[in-house]
Amino acid sequence: MLERIRSNKNGQRALGLVFGIVFGIFLQKAGVTRYDVIIGQLLLMDFTVVKVMMSAVIVGMLGVHFMHSRGLVRLHVRGGSFGSTVVGGLIFGAGFALLGYCPGTVAGAVGQGSVDALVGGVTGLVFGSWLFAVLYPRLTPFLSRGEFSNETLQELLHIGTWQAVVPTAVVLIALLAALEWLGF
């Protein structure tokens, strides 16, 4: 049943659209499609972005690992390396601050009428992605430099899945509580 839904290409496109509409509503209602909210986060004055991301991670993590333990879902963990993850992450961060949106929230910003997100942001994103595709053959040796030896936190720490999931949830909840307590 699940495999039939997952392998229906047009059905998946329709489902993607529905998921996107719901995602867009949550992003817009949370305020993270706004330039001032993202910049406020990066200047450490407004913690809305962190609150949204951490609550999504807590709820998502518990459900996804529960479904995985029941054999209902597959995990999709990506490997990483110093050359790819750290260097790419820092380039991304610079772009995050200059644009004031990220690749998901920029789409939401377009929907609410922010022209800088469409004319500057989306065109820039398409151009930068294209540049990577062009440079890719020359970048591959660098991208694999310093590969991480472990894919997940539980492998890294040699512990069971729930021994990693539960403490992570507790730490994230404590961080959110601390932010509220500090008045953010």
């Binding site: 993607g16 659209l17 996107g20 509409i21 719901v22 995602f23 867009g24 509503i25 992003l27 949370a30 330039y35 001032d36 910049i39 609150k51 949204v52 991301m53 807590i58 709820v59 998502g60 993590m61 996804v64 479904m67 879902v73 963990v77 990506r78 990483g80 390396s81 790819s84 993850t85 260097v87 790419g88 992450g89 991304f92 961060g93 610079a94 772009g95 601050a97 200059l98 644009l99 004031g100 990220c102 690749p103 920029v106 789409a107 929907g111 609410q112 009428g113 800088d116 004319v119 500057g120 820039g124 994103l125 398409v126 930068g128 992605s129 294209w130 540049l131 990577f132 936190l153 492998e155």
Partner: protein, 173 residues
């Protein structure tokens, strides 16, 4: 539908909602929520308009086909969802320059669009370089406890905080 016309929902409610959405996306689509690959697919589709099928010979486009898939539709859905949400709350409006840029650097459209384009280009380059963005790594990857995603997310924010601070505390300050 009164809830849809509210200007803002609690960030915790929105975050939890996105968390539940990710359950459904793993369960029904066998995919983590993510957005940035759609921009490189778009780039490939546009290049194909000009250069034809030669584009498909690029090593990267053999790995990631330039076509409209589940995630591309998801990004389109985000535009529509945010449109619905902002129209319902009366917040939708055409804005070229927003605060705090306005106060710091003025209302001129050119500089803002130029910086937004450079920022967008770095986001596109960086998300492919790191193999994910604030959704794919920041939310979907960290919830799977992927080492690469936690490292990526820390770097996204480290880079972002450094450049935003330079922009607003040094240049504009």
């Amino acid at each position: 539908m009164e809830w849809l016309s509210l200007e803002q929902w609690s960030p915790y409610v929105c975050g939890a909602g996105i968390g539940i959405l990710s359950w459904l996306s793993f369960l029904l689509s066998d995919k983590p929520l993510g957005t940035s690959t759609s921009y490189v697919r778009t780039a490939g589709m546009l290049e194909r308009l000009f250069r034809g099928d030669r584009v498909l010979k690029r090593e990267f486009f053999q790995k990631v086909t330039p076509s409209i898939d589940w995630q591309w539709m998801l990004v389109l859905g985000i535009v529509i969802g945010a449109f619905i949400s902002s129209v319902a709350s009366g917040q939708a409006h055409i804005a070229w320059v927003s605060e705090p840029w306005l106060t710091a650097f003025g209302a001129a459209v050119g500089p803002r669009l130029a910086v937004a384009f450079i920022g967008g280009a770095l986001l596109g380059l960086g998300s492919r370089w790191a193999n994910g963005c604030t959704s794919g790594h920041g939310i979907s990857g960290t919830m799977q406890l992927a080492v690469s995603s936690w490292v990526a997310s820390i770097c996204f924010f480290a880079g972002g905080i450094a450049v935003a601070t330079f922009l607003y505390a040094v240049l504009a300050g």
